[in-house]
Amino acid sequence: MNKLPVTLIVNGREYKLTVDANERLLDTLRLQLRLTGTKEGCGVGECGACSVILDGQLVNSCMVLTAQCDGARVETVEGLGTATKLHPLQQAFIDYNAVQCGFCTPGMLMAAKALLDKNPDPSEAEIRQGLSGVLCRCTGYKQIADAVKAAAREEK
């Protein structure tokens, strides 16, 4: 296998890595960096559980080769908040019961963060569109949309 040197800046920290040519960003995050907050759901870009923010853009990390990301900045759910100091989105997800099984939550949080980074005061329709690439099979989407709206108010 052709090994490639890749530098990634993940949640503000620089990593010098060696990756396979066919290695997905998702696998680099989970297996090399042990950042297992990012989940693999479908593996084919349908469910959005693996969503991360790559150079400011929301992407499915299962559909990006790490080799394509040399020098890129990656934000994952681990970079949002800490157990003692939650990000306003994380607190709002708790307050609005926007979590049930939790598997889609990292993807939902990153989709919400990408949305609020670009549009701090989104309408209901814009929130729904911003979250539309992530599937939730248990909570229902209303609580999640409400949580994002509340977090947007909080951050204002």
Binding site: N22, L58, N60, M63, L65, A67, Q68, G133, L135
Partner: protein, 285 residues
């Protein structure tokens, strides 16, 4: 051994793919990494063209040129295109979800050659020409697709962009997509319509449908039937029947052939009326 190569210029890319025709060209990866999910471990190699700056331009004006590495998100949100070619922006906005639109590219959408490709019907009614490199070639997009997943491109060719003439002021447009849900759905049927209206007459029109034939296809007999008709006496029922007669849908996971044929009629009718309205005329029908 899987290899990875990221050329820094188009000529480097052309030279590389000429020597390494089994390498898969990757950009956003949103189709390739789905199709090849099971084969990721046995791929020969990738050539990553997503960083080629010369394929990322949008040239505006009377002649519009869009580079192959422009993403769906960039098209959907481009201020000039939104004002002058909203039809294309609507096609781009219909692709997948935000994650897919941030990665997927115009070139990828066309090269992947899905009969359901959301950019193809709008671009075909706009009369777009696909531009290929190494051997250089220009081909009307209408003639670019040769079957599901197949194009007329040679293994050593790369799609570098599309160009088309900016629609005139008397032209109206619509793109409608029928899918299971708004986000992340692949079209069960889709239709783009571009009309030209003068003095209450439909002087010209182009209709292109997706997902109802092996390739995105013009409905030329329906166009012919409607061309020249007065807006106050459009033969809509006849046009709809003609359209349903000239498409060739198949049964698949997203819908049956019969359903597609049924649904394509009203979908087209709605698109046509919307297009006429967008040309600044209130249709009677």
């Amino acid at each position: 051994m899987t290899t990875y190569f990221a050329p820094s210029t188009l000529s480097e890319a052309v030279a590389y793919i000429h020597e390494n025709q089994t390498a898969k060209i990757i950009a956003g990866g949103t189709d390739l990494l789905v199709k090849r999910y099971e084969e990721l471990d046995s791929m020969t190699g990738f050539m990553d063209i997503s960083h080629l700056a010369e394929l990322k331009n949008i040239k505006t004006g009377e002649e519009v040129q869009i580079g192959a590495m422009v993403t769906h998100g960039e098209i959907a949100g481009h201020p000039w295109l939104l004002q002058h070619v909203p039809l294309l922006c609507q096609g781009a906005a219909a692709v997948g979800g935000p994650q897919i639109r941030n990665r997927g590219t115009l070139g990828g959408n066309l090269a992947n050659a899905s009969p359901a490709a959301d950019l193809a019907p709008p671009l075909i009614v706009l009369g777009a020409v696909a531009e290929l490199a190494g051997p250089q070639h220009q081909v009307p997009l209408e003639e670019f697709f040769s079957g599901p997943g197949k194009t007329i491109m040679q293994p050593n060719q790369i799609i570098t962009g599309v160009k088309f003439t900016k629609p005139a002021a008397n032209q109206g447009w619509a793109y409608l997509k029928l899918g299971k849900r708004k986000a992340m759905a692949i079209a069960t049927a889709s239709v783009a319509v571009l009309v030209a209206v003068e003095d209450g007459q439909l002087t010209d029109l182009r209709i292109c449908l997706g997902s109802v034939a092996p390739v995105p296809s013009r409905a030329k007999k329906t166009e012919e039937l409607l061309r020249g008709q007065r807006l106050d006496s459009l033969e809509l029922a006849a046009a709809q029947a003609q359209l349903q007669a000239e498409i060739s849908p198949i049964d698949d996971i997203r819908g049956s052939a019969e359903y597609r044929r049924q649904a394509a009629g009203p979908l087209f009718r709605r698109a046509l009326l919307q297009a006429i309205k967008n040309a600044g005329v209130e249709p009677d029908a």
